[in-house]
Amino acid sequence: MLLDAIAANLLTPAVLFFVLGVIAAVVKTDLKLPEPLYVTLTVYLLVAIGFKGGVSISEAGLAKVWLPALVAIALGTAIPLWSYPLLRLGRLPAVDAASIAAHYGSVSAVTFITAVNYLSQIKEPSESYAAAFLAVMESPAIIIGVLLGKLALQREGQRGSLAETIRAALHEALLGRSVFLLLGALLAGYLSGKRGYDATSGFFVTPFQGVLTLFLLEMGTVAGRRLGGLRKAGAFLLAFGLVMPLLHGFLGTGAGQLAGLSTGGCALLGTLAASASYIAAPAAMRLSLPEANPTLSLTAALAITFPFNVTLGIPLYLQMARWWMGHSV
């Protein structure tokens, strides 16, 4: 059952092309999408997933969404709180531990979208409004991570205004383009409802999988190019990048069950908890915690955890969700 689930994920076109992208980077082909296309595809994917999520909220009603959304925020807040001391145990400097903890508490939209795609491929129903959890989980961990890092720097004698740093981090965390776009698309979907969905589904729904496939080809090359960072990251961070997603996936799927989500919804919340941010968190850390080494956190999030989640993690989280639901694993 587990092997079947993994095979089903690995054989989706999106994941196959992701692997192709990684290979392209490792053997150093010159394959590279132009940067404006990369930006266009991310906007498309975020708008499509956010808009559909907003329509779904308008159908399900806000009453159904707020509890799991709160659980999602709690997860995003709590993950850095135990990741940080664990990373300190691995002898990482305090600022690096704080930065990496923020990356792992925050989320990866592409990992989430790949999970949505996987569930729809294997016909496992899930709540479309889970896109709202993606939107609310991006920021809390970034704030916690910046706080942890700044407090550590103050203990080491660095001076500076904590309030000013937090203000800058808040701006970056809440108004980064992915959160802004996602929240905007959720709202647009919520307001336009089923009619808006029918009017745009030819563009946002039907070609979705093809666009995701093309995007994951590019993401494969992006991740593949950063595999060289593994040597600098070291064995501890490699283990952290593989084990923490499993732990967070397990906790996330369990929390989803407590919040009353379906099996597919639990798998999505588990995927969010397991994923690590490689866009919003790095940007916020460079501005608010520039003392942290960006190579360490980006290698862990983008070269270790992201490929793991896209290939093996997502089907594992679905199995965890089934386990929590009392299904046979």
């Binding site: 990369y38 090359t221 190019r225 940007a283 460079r286 520039p290």
Partner: protein
């Protein structure tokens, strides 16, 4: 036609430094800039520019010699330790010096 001596300051740095850098330009009194995304490699690794976040920015600004001095000093004090960055100034001559 009279050409007036000015300084061209070129700053190549990681894209994440964009906002603080643009704020600094305003603070030191620059009146404009030109910016593009570029890729490159240096002592702090490769900047692949596959994602806009992993690109470098190449920022050019023409200012008076005094402003250039202030700008370079501020870069030295507040930016070099924080960001992967190269900054240099060169002599240029312009028409319409009031523009800068």
């Amino acid at each position: 036609m009279t050409l007036h001596p000015m300084k061209l300051v070129t700053i190549v740095t990681e894209a994440h430094a964009r906002e603080p850098l643009l704020r600094l330009l305003t603070e030191v009194g620059a009146h404009g800039y030109t910016l593009q995304l570029v890729e490159g490699s240096g002592s702090q690794g490769d900047r692949t520019a596959d994602m806009p976040e992993s690109a470098n920015i190449d920022l050019k600004v023409i200012v008076s010699p005094e402003t250039a001095e202030r700008l370079m000093t501020r870069l030295h004090e507040g930016f070099f330790a924080r960001y992967a960055m190269v900054a240099y100034e060169s002599d240029v001559r312009v028409l319409r010096p009031g523009k800068f």
